[in-house]
Symmetry: C2
Subunit: 757 residues, 2 copies
């Protein structure tokens, strides 16, 4: 067990690492050449054009102004300066609410930390149990934890009382936060500009009709059943093949650009390539001609396929985006059941156009339920048995195994240096690769489950990742052994024994988790701000591919923060905080530092870096809340088990009330707030409709909605963003000139794709 000194040394190392990352960041971000990596959002918004600051050529790449280096931490106050309403306008509601999760951590854990340090640490310190036991190595950390309290001591009532105080405070903060976020969301929805999805409903499982096409059938059905409200509809094409062709063409264009640039730099030698896989084998040809011809060919194929998709009635999937004359009519259609058969004519609010996951729009009901069953079983197996195939791969991936399969490598492998590398490296590599692939695997599983919007896919993946972390990181760290072994031992233990088994080992793992927080939390967050991988990729792309301004925009595209992986990780810190608040209060300061630091960094990142692809209006908050409640209940059960082993069984009835009350609190909050995240109430719809009718009585809504839900391949390779333009029109930060430039850019892009390269 690590002593207090070890912890302090480790803290110092990690702090230094974090500071080194910060210093590197401070240095790198000041170099104009990196400007597009560290401030891409401003370029995308059109506010920054070029990183030029002074006239000299060198200063285009290197910052020579020494003064700026002195204020190398000044991004921190800058990150905090932007007020929340501006932040929502600048970065979107999703991002603004996402960083509130870190703030929530501070709100919960700062008072908890103060209370725990003032009340519980003295109680534990004077417990004097560990000193009396001989032949036991213990650290000062343990003297500050509940381990130092003798079993059955009256002091345990202090822990019990604090558990109540902590839980009530947490629930209070959670309630307030849920209320605020719900209010923010409703205000956001109310203040939003006109968007296509406000008038549109996604209709799935349109039943087949022998006499009518899907389009006619949809029109007739809604004309009859929503006669006063139906406006228009857009059918959905199965454009997967077309999308593949377009993607292939785009990759060819990249290669063409690469060789073209190469040729321009060195006109004396025309570059060659091979026609085979990845240019590794096949006949050698002139690269520029080859790719130009390929692009030509693909362009024709794209045109043919496009015609085929549009003219073939079988290419229309049994789903449609149906638009209504008013938000009221849309809200009605989205919330009601249309047919007596609940598996056809399914209606739901359309996701915004950028958010649609097009591949899943056509899926029959029976197939959907079977897919979900299989994925549930799959998730269970993945969570508990993932070690089995990995262990199998690891058993193969030893030196003897490689020599057997690839005997010609034998001489190479037998070299002492390479052998030692392989021996040190191989055992862990299968697990590492698996962990890197895990988010992708989970996202694929969510896609198979058939969700129709990117935001819901992210939310579902986050849920799966949370389960995985809970079982394999949290429980796996506390109890040695694989998840499968745990599951097996849990199945053969009584339900009252499980919390005891886990609870009793919790105090012993405190130092491990403190180190974990510092390595994964502190240094990890500092690494996040440094953006090392995007930095390298941007410079590579910039050197080899970028030809036009538009190419550079694409190369610097920062993407969005990844909700599916980052949110479950935050939840893990919440869980650690809840579990150790009563048991080992000295862990709390580390958690608080993590939340404060992460809040700062992510606020900086969403202001300057990330560009959300869609806006769900913080639709993820009910998930966040539910998982926090799960963490709370787990911590309560573990405390119950721990106190039981401390021979404080009389406290069990008092502790039993906690999960019951917490569950009730969850139900209560759910009833109060959840609907704000699912439903658009009729009253609010009516208010917006009335306002709009008064302001713009002659609005051509049908024209506005005409092409809003068209598969992106029909628009040319990437999603058009009508509502971004919409927002920009009202955004004083963005000069109108720039906007028109950007949309004309888009136009030419579409043109180049439809008319061929």
């Amino acid at each position: 067990m690590a002593s207090l000194q070890d912890i302090l040394v480790s803290a110092a190392i990690n702090l230094l690492t974090a500071l080194a990352f910060l210093a590197a960041f401070a240095f790198l971000r000041l170099q104009p050449i990196n400007d597009r990596v560290y401030f891409p959002k401003w370029y995308l918004k059109g506010i920054r054009g070029t990183p030029t600051r002074s006239g000299a050529f060198v200063s285009k790449f290197v910052n020579l102004d020494m003064n700026t280096y002195l204020r190398f931490l000044n991004w921190m106050p800058a990150a905090l300066k932007m007020p929340e309403p501006d932040l929502i306008e600048h970065a979107g509601m999703d991002s603004a609410v996402y960083i509130r999760i870190y703030l929530l951590g501070l709100k919960i854990f700062v008072p908890l930390m103060v209370l725990a340090l003032v009340v519980l640490v003295p109680v534990n310190w004077t417990g004097k149990t560990l000193e009396n036991i001989k032949d036991l190595t213990f650290s000062n950390i343990d003297k500050l934890s509940i381990s130092n309290i003798p079993p059955g001591s009256i002091r345990l009532w202090a822990h019990l009382a604090m558990a109540y105080v902590f839980n009530f405070w947490t629930c209070y903060v959670l309630y307030k936060e849920y209320k605020i976020v719900a209010k923010m969301r409703l205000e956001f929805l109310a203040s939003e500009n006109r968007r296509p999805d406000q008038f549109t409903v996604l209709v799935r499982n349109v039943p087949p009709d022998p006499d009518e096409s899907v389009s006619e059938h949809v029109e007739h059905f809604f004309c009859v059943n929503h006669p006063d409200h139906y406006l228009t509809h857009q059918v959905v094409y199965n454009a997967n093949k077309l999308a593949n062709l377009v993607a292939k063409k785009k990759s060819m264009q990249n290669w063409y650009t690469y060789y073209h640039n190469k040729y321009e730099k060195n006109p004396s030698k025309r570059p060659n390539t091979k026609t085979g896989f990845w240019g590794l084998w096949g006949t050698r040809v002139d690269a520029i001609d080859y790719y130009a011809a390929e692009i030509e060919k693909l362009s024709e194929e794209v045109i043919v396929e496009r015609e085929k998709v549009i003219s073939d009635p079988k290419a229309i999937v049994p789903a449609a985006f149906v638009s209504f004359k008013s938000r009221w009519g849309t809200a009605v259609c989205a919330q009601t059941q249309q047919s007596s058969n609940p598996t056809i004519w399914l209606t739901e609010w359309a996701p915004e156009p950028r958010d649609v996951y097009w591949d899943n729009l056509a899926m029959p009901y029976v197939e959907l339920t079977i897919r979900r069953l299989l994925m549930t079983v799959g998730l269970f197996l993945l969570t508990f048995f993932f070690m089995i195939p990995i262990a199998f791969v690891q058993s193969l991936a030893n030196i003897e195994g490689i020599e057997k399969v690839l005997p010609f490598l034998k001489t190479l492998i037998e070299m002492p240096f390479i052998k030692s590398i392989i021996q040190g490296f191989l055992p862990g590599i299968a697990l590492k690769i698996f962990l890197i692939l895990l988010p992708t695997i989970l996202m694929t599983m969510s896609k198979i489950e058939g969700y129709t919007s990117l935001s819901s896919l992210e939310r579902r993946s986050a849920g799966k990742y949370y389960l995985f972390i809970l079982v394999n990181v949290f429980l796996g760290s506390i109890i040695a052994g694989t998840a499968f072994q745990q599951l097996n031992s849990f199945l053969h233990q009584s339900p009252t024994e499980i919390p005891k088994t886990v609870g009793v080992s919790i105090p012993m793992k405190a130092t491990f988790f403190i180190t974990y927080i510092m390595v994964d939390g502190w240094a990890g967050i500092a690494g996040e701000i440094l953006r090392l991988v995007p930095l390298v990729i941007f410079h590579l792309k910039n050197t080899f591919l970028v030809k036009t301004e538009q190419d550079r925009d694409q190369a610097m595209d920062p993407g969005s923060w990844n909700f599916a992986t980052s949110e479950p990780r935050i939840q893990f810190y919440f869980l650690l905080g809840f579990v150790y608040a009563v048991v080992t209060p000295v862990l709390l300061p580390f958690i608080v530092v993590f939340f404060a630091f992460a809040y700062l960094v992510f606020r900086h990142q969403i202001i300057n870096v990330y560009d959300q692809t869609y806006e769900s209006g913080a639709a993820f908050w009910p998930d966040v809340h539910r998982r926090l409640i799960t963490c709370l209940i787990i911590s309560q059960l573990l405390l119950m088990g721990l106190l039981n082993t401390k021979k404080a069984a009389r406290s069990t009835p008092f502790l039993l009330a906690l999960p019951v009350l917490t569950l009730w609190f969850h139900k209560f909050c759910k009833g109060l707030f959840e609907s704000a995240f699912v439903i658009f109430p009729l009253q609010n719809a009516m208010i917006k409709d009335t306002l709009e009718r008064a302001k713009e009585p002659n609005l051509d809504l049908k024209g506005y909605l005409q092409d809003s839900y068209v598969h992106p391949v029909f628009k040319g390779g990437e999603l058009e963003r009508p509502q971004v333009i919409d927002e920009e029109e009202n955004n004083p930060l963005v000069p109108t000139k720039r906007t028109s430039h950007r949309s004309s850019n888009h136009g030419s892009e579409i043109g180049s794709d439809t008319a061929g390269f």
Copy 2:
């Protein structure tokens, strides 16, 4: 353990009892004097007027036609003759679907029985385990059960295979049945005549407004938010005090009638009464004058209170029945959320007027969630710890205890005869009283939970009663000891041990449950058709109270069958069938006989006796289905435990798939059919609206709905039934003359109540 012979003797006894009951029924029902007890529904429908068949005076009371006695079982084919559509029209959808539960039992268990007897019984019989164990008493029944199979035998695969066959067959039948019932319900709703609840939505939690009354607030809100559809609304008065006064007046009127009849029979002596409690003490007064004066006084109070309620704005609760111009508008309002605050302006389909539970209409959201939390905890305590207070009462209620509390009874109690009676009687009496009161307790708990319709109250109570039966009757019979002891032992066992503990004792309890089925099932059902208690009560009332035809109608009122207690009891038989189908197949014939007999009897009863107070359109079917699935899963888990103790652990993975598949099947069915029981789809609403508009273009809907949702006390003591009259108008079985007579009766009744006695 009972031998096969014991079982046969017991079967014979119970069959004879059942036959005796049936013979008594056959005899009693043929006596004209009992006609109103055994065929009240026909009187209520107005088809039978008087039981007179021949002219003689005696034959008014006693049936002298000997021929009819010979055909004493002819009610059976008569009960089966009425086809289902007629049955729905005659007795209502609820009743028609309710008896389908018995039919479902037959559909499931007859093929199971045949298969089990053909396949499993020979396999078990030739197992030859029990014969080889010496010093073990076993019966022939056990030789037919799985106990006769040696542990680890290959024969167990037959049981495993049959478990799959049984479960698939059950799920198939359940699926078909759910589909049929959903279709029946939709057809029933589509074919229904115009009813007030088709146009009405119950709005609860109307927020307070400082400037407007509840009525104005409701009107303004719906005028604004449903401008094209809102028609009218009716406020709800808090008329609990008024209802009490009316009830008191009614009881006084009963007493007045009683003494008046007494006086008329013996005019020489005016009856006396005492003014105190139950006429036991107080000053002696002339009974007729006293009650006449009391009724006079109460009538005045009723008038004053009625005025007060109608004029006092505080008597209006924050709830209202809002009516719309079309079914479409109603369906929209009922299915959507009105306000951004989901705890105000709650809308749901209004229950039909007879079905409204008026006391619960005004309940704020927070109070509601707290009440439900308390009732959940209460139900848990009631289910697992009800034996504690009963044991306490039993410990008090011994002879010494009574002598201590009531010493003056000592001499009486010490008499040997009385003492032995008390000693034999007392120990069980507290439990007996509790079990008799249990349905009332559960119904009260459901009422506290705040449900707004009688049908939902019944459904909730049924769920509670099911849990109680499951824990205390099923588990309590299999494992000795109270539910609390079971809970305690389960908590200290591993989850895999519990099915083993229960599973291993299941074969041993087969004979017990066979006896139970015969006593509670066979004889109980025969007792149901005899209606001994209503028979006695009717004749008592008829002798002492009945003065007018209307009084007789009231005295014979059969009420409705009690869903809350009878449905969970059926579920218990399903559970026994599922559990023993694989383990002890000889139990199945007893179950099949029960279902067949019960189907016959209840079909007879709903045709001839029961009169439903409300019509929910089989809204209970999703509950029935869910509980059947629960029974299935319990049986699967217990089989898993049993096979585990049989050292057939290799079968566990195969068995594990069963509950997973069953749960998936449940979710699948829920998605397919449940909405038909909750939601009225817009398409169907539109069809009905269009039809009606074509048929009756000049309908005065507002006038039709005017007073449909008025608290019954404003209508005079009992519920008016607009839609019954409605149905009768279209029912060719009912002569119109009679209808007008009945409604004029109603009119006079209202008159007598509003104008005073």
